[in-house]
Structure formats: structure tokens, C-alpha cells
Amino acid sequence: MRVPLSREEYARRIQSLTPSSPLPKDMLFAFLTGGGICLLGQLFSELFLSLGIEEKTAALLTSAALIAVGMILSVTGLYAKLARYGGAGTLLPITGFSNSMISAAVEFKSEGMVTGLGANIFRIAGPVIVYGIAAGILYGAVYWLTGLF
């Protein structure tokens, strides 16, 4: 016995039966989580500056510190737990980038250091790097061209 609905009718019919993500709650949690991570970064920055480190170096050290925090939280599985609620708040900061690489490294270690870990560590972060560089080149070209006139 065939379901007496076209694909369009089916899509419409199930809409009310399919729960959608709780957007206001998700957004609030994302804001708090992402904000919390940025606050942590600010604290690192203040700490490095108070130690007399030059501003540019302090910024680099802050990124490195956040990447390290992301790494530690990732391998302990805490980052994944945080992300269940934090969503985009955990994805966007540099800790999310760290998590994407570490999670792939941990995951594919079982297929060997070269064919597993080495080949897959950029599995998730790779596209960000590829299109980040591509966007950088495009921006550079536009910047250079506008400087000509």
C-alpha cells in the first residue's frame, strides 16, 4: 500500500511532527559559551601584558594558550560535552579549530600515524585553511588593485 503523498506533500505533512531546534536557548548558550571562551582569552592576554610582554607577542601567546586549552578539553572529551550546549559558541573561537584537528588526530590514530593521523588531521580543519587562504589571496589582490589608483 503506497503512502498517498507526493514528496512535497510529505515534507509539508511532517513539518509539524518534526521538532525544530530551540533557537533562543541555543543562541543564548552559544553567546555565553563563546563569550566565556573569549573572556578566558582576554584574561590570558591581560596576564601576558602584566608580565611585561609586548602586545604583539602577547596576542600570539593568547592564541597559543587557547589552542592548548582547546586541546586539553578535546582529548578529555569535555569539549564535545560543552559543544552539545554551546554549539556555535564552541565552534567559532580558535578553541574550535584546535578541537577539529585534535579530534581528527585522536580518531584516526587507529589507522596508523601516517595513513591515519597524518592523512586525516586536517579532515575538518582543511577546508577552513583552503578557503581561508583563497579568501586571503582574493582580498590581497583587491587591496593591491585599489592601491594602484
Binding site: 503512502v3 503523498l5 579530534s103 580518531e107
Partner: protein, 350 residues
């Protein structure tokens, strides 16, 4: 030339000439399932999701192997007396089944029907036994949360948020040994009596976070088709269970079957809804090739043997997608096979 009597009934259902008995069964559950709603109902449970192995794949292979070991412990039959063994899982090329059955030296068929594989195995095994090709056949399906995440989704410790309609792949599985003929001691038993092989149905759902909606049309068609072929209603059964539609697919099947003239009423439920507590946050419920086999062996079969259930329909559902088809933007065809299982007192038939 005389053809054997056709066992097809109606437009596409089948009736066995003599019921095929479930001789023994064994279930195994992972740490998350162990804490769920069926706590205490499993033959084997594991606290270590790795089961002492080095990789997730080996862990699932070990889970299958130990479940089969338990199955033969509980059975009066041995691997040498087994004429067929059907096994399936969600790993690439069904490696968990290969590793699980390799030590047993049984005639082996690896199956892939996504999460509907338990139905596929039960149908093939009972049809072969009813056809007189053998006297005993095994069926096992397993799944493992971590191998499924690896196969279909992102690395385990990768942080992500899932939508409410997403499901949690079951770590666990169930195995049964089917045998032709009545129980030798006249004990009550459960038997496969009828089945229906599902047709694939693709209603254009391409969202892997809503597989219940992808599978629901196939489930509705298999259930209504079966009931129509035998002139029955849902009320003629004590329990009708779909495989792993989860909460969302369950609601859709209720809606569709009602609209098709076969309302399922109070006897209908879904294995994916029965495994986890609300606070375990498994979203829409359990899924995976081990979902229906685990729930059937741990929860349904004991109730059939105790006489609490007389007649049950088990309809394992599958989402026929691959990691590649998803990336290529293909929609997800669904499938649903159906098996009728009845409790027998041991004195009737044959």
C-alpha cells in the same frame, strides 16, 4: 514439473508452512544502554565501550563474538549443527560481523540492510528453514555508537550540536538461533510465522539528522501492506514494534498509517523509543542495526515466552544511505521488513 506450493499471501506477504522456533537468544548492551530503560534485561553488559580492545571496530567485533558465544551457551545446538548464520552491522563491508563470526566455523552470510538487517536476517533464516534447507540458522545484528560516528559522522571528541530529531546509535546487539520443528520438551516457545520483505521508499528526505522521517514511509507501507494482505487490524496484535524510527518517525508512522486506513492504536511502539531514559539526552531515541535486535531479544522475546504477549509484529527499519551518498546530496531511501512472531504453548501445531 510440480512447483512447490506458493507461500505468498495477498500482494506481497508470506506465510511459513510450519512456524520456525526461536531456539535461543542472547543480547549484549554497552554502558549507555545498560543504564537505560531496559536495565537488567540484557544477557551481557559492558562498562568499557572499547570492550578491552584497541580500536572501536575491534570492540564491535568483540561484542558480536561474545554475543554469539552466549547464544551457543544458552542453546542446545552447537555451531556445527548450524546450517546458516546471517549477520550484519553498520561498519564498512560489515567487518564487525566478519570478526564476530570468524571464530565459529559456521556457514556465514554477511548482510547489509542498514538498521533493518535484523529483519532481513530473520526472514532469510526462517524461509530457508521452512523450505527444508536446514534445521538451524543463526541471526545477529550489532551496532556500536563509536564505529557509526566514525563511519557516518564526525570524530568522536569533535564538538557539535545535534538537532532534536537526531538519534543515538545503539552500542549493542541481539542474536537468535532459529530451529525447525517444535520444542523437544514441549516447553512454550516463540516462533516466526509470517513475514513481509519491504520495498524501498524515498520521499526526498536528505537530512541525516532526521532519519526517522526518511524511514517512516517505508515502515507505514510495510505495516499496512501486511495487515491488508492478511485482512487484519492492529488490534489483532499485542505489540507492533518498528525498528529504530525514534520519536519523530514514530509520530509520522502513526499519522501515515491512520491516513491509510490502518490506525495502529495503543499496541504500536518503536524500539528506538524504548531504550533510553529522557534524561540520557539521546534526542529522538536509539538507532542502529543493533537497536531492533537488542530490544527484541531483551524485552519482547521474554514477554512472549512468559505468555504476556501472544502475537507480535517486529518491523526493523533501515535508512539506506552511505557517507558518500550523503556528501553527494542524495536523499535517503528507507526500507522496512516485517516479521510476525507468535507465542506457542509447545503442545499445538506440527
Amino acid at each position: 514439473m510440480n512447483l512447490p506450493t506458493l507461500k505468498k499471501r495477498g500482494k506481497g506477504s508470506f506465510e511459513l508452512s510450519s512456524p520456525v522456533r526461536i531456539e535461543a537468544a542472547a543480547s549484549a548492551a554497552g554502558p549507555f544502554e545498560k543504564k537505560g530503560r531496559l536495565r537488567g534485561a540484557f544477557d551481557l553488559t559492558f562498562d568499557d565501550p572499547y570492550l578491552g580492545e584497541k580500536t572501536w571496530e575491534k570492540a564491535e567485533g568483540s561484542l558480536a563474538r561474545r554475543t554469539v558465544a552466549r547464544l551457543y551457551e544458552k542453546s542446545s545446538l552447537s555451531p556445527a549443527e548450524t546450517d546458516f548464520f546471517f549477520a550484519g552491522d553498520l561498519e564498512r563491508q560489515c567487518m564487525a560481523s566478519t570478526q564476530g563470526l570468524l571464530p565459529y566455523d559456521v556457514p556465514y552470510c554477511g548482510l547489509y540492510g542498514a538498521c533493518s538487517t535484523f529483519g532481513e536476517g530473520l526472514i532469510l533464516a526462517s524461509a530457508l528453514l521452512d523450505g527444508g534447507f536446514g534445521r538451524a540458522a543463526g541471526v545477529i545484528t550489532t551496532s556500536h555508537f563509536s564505529t557509526a560516528e566514525r563511519e557516518y559522522r564526525t570524530p568522536l571528541v569533535y564538538g557539535k550540536q545535534r538537532q532534536p530529531s537526531a538519534q543515538h546509535t545503539v552500542t549493542g546487539g541481539g542474536a537468535v538461533l532459529l530451529a525447525a520443528g517444535p520444542a523437544p520438551d514441549g516447553e512454550p516457545y516463540a516462533a516466526v510465522t509470517r513475514f513481509r520483505v519491504g520495498r524501498m521508499r524515498d520521499m526526498g528526505i536528505a537530512d541525516p539528522g532526521n532519519m526517522g522521517a526518511a524511514m517512516a514511509p517505508a515502515a507505514a507501507e510495510t505495516l499496512t501492506g501486511f495487515l491488508e494482505d492478511f485482512g487484519r487490524k492492529a488490534d489483532d496484535y499485542d505489540l507492533i514494534l518498528t525498528g529504530d524510527l525514534g520519536q519523530v518517525g514514530y509520530e509520522i508512522v502513526r499519522d501515515l498509517t491512520g491516513a491509510m486506513g490502518f490506525p495502529l492504536g495503543g499496541v504500536y511502539d518503536d524500539c528506538g523509543r524504548l531504550l533510553y531514559h529522557e534524561e540520557q539526552d539521546a534526542h529522538a531515541g536509539g538507532s542502529g542495526a543493533g537497536c531492533s535486535s537488542l530490544v527484541f531479544v531483551a524485552s519482547v522475546l521474554p514477554r512472549l515466552l512468559r505468555g504476556e504477549l501472544k502475537r507480535v509484529l517486529l518491523a526493523p527499519t533501515g535508512a539506506l544511505l552511505s557517507a558518500v551518498s550523503l556528501l553527494q546530496g542524495e536523499s535517503i531511501p528507507g526500507i522496512c521488513h516485517l516479521i510476525e512472531v507468535e507465542a506457542r504453548s509447545g503442545k499445538e501445531d506440527f
